[in-house]
Symmetry: C2
């Protein structure tokens, strides 16, 4: 099994992440992103837009007015998490997040219901009833570039197997206690 070596396991991780960017039914399509808010950690599901192994980069999109954008500006330390039920593999990453304006051409091609994610009142604002669809604002279409500093893979085989890979270790990897 390729996951029996450190490099094989890292290859597997990046294969899953790449599939997440291309296949909307793959569990790596929807990583969970954690940031630190004023009241503790904050988690949300996002769509994985890019996974670039050579640059150790994962990209997701957000509304510039969202709490997570505000949190990332205040503290760029984020964590990403994917749980893959079939191989029973947990992928975790630590990253420094950077906000960049989204591509206006990409925004223009989004359907109205997707554009609506980047407009209207600030997310989290109380409403008198269920939300109505807002008009999208291209100026709020924002990329979160997650520059990975560490990747942690836990394979729930018997016995469990876990490895940690660090940017400052040139992604060589190290077996660690699960």
């Amino acid at each position: 099994m390729t996951e029996e070596t450190l490099t094989g396991l890292l290859d597997t991780i990046w294969q899953h992440l790449a599939r997440g960017t291309a296949d909307r039914h793959h569990p790596a399509r929807h990583p969970t992103l954690a940031s630190i808010g004023t009241d503790g950690p904050e988690l949300r599901t996002l769509v994985l837009r890019r996974a670039e192994r050579s640059g150790a980069l994962l990209e997701v999109h957000t509304d510039a007015a969202s709490p997570k954008a505000v949190q990332i500006v205040a503290d760029p330390r984020v964590a990403l998490h994917v749980w893959l039920p079939k191989p029973r593999l947990q992928i975790r990453a630590r990253a420094m997040a950077l906000l960049e304006p989204g591509d206006p051409a990409v925004f223009a091609n989004l359907p109205p219901e997707a554009q609506a994610n980047y407009g209207g009142p600030v997310p989290g604002t109380p409403l008198p009833g269920p939300a109505k669809r807002a008009a999208g604002d291209p100026a709020r279409f924002t990329r979160i570039l997650c520059h990975l500093t560490e990747v942690d893979a836990l394979l729930l085989s018997d016995p469990h197997r876990r490895a940690r890979y660090r940017a400052d270790g040139n992604w060589q990897g190290q077996w660690i206690v699960p």
Copy 2:
């Protein structure tokens, strides 16, 4: 649709959480728990062991020697997250976490590969090769009681619909901007 009312949506959330404790194939079986570590937020998949609506409590288990146990003692503010792909429903919760010793009778009934999660060297310790199965230590079998302070539900219908429920608002709920 029951999710069209605030109470209906909260009912749906607790139904999913209850199913997660009983059905190992339900996505609520494996929530993601976030705590705050010294290097930023930390995420991991856990098994949902109990969901008690009347007490606003979720329970998961951990090894007392694990970094998450150490992190929770230092800062009990945690967040939990479940993504349900079929109904396209994201459940998020904020909680104050409390560690309590696990039940020795429950530990004694675990199979050896499950007991091994609560023993051996401290998780994260470097190893010369893939981990071997450790002997379990009942003294390290620990419950994390997550006392919920807030639940946030995002339904990716069109348009998106989002509600927030707070313990200090008697779980009445409020529609908010998605």
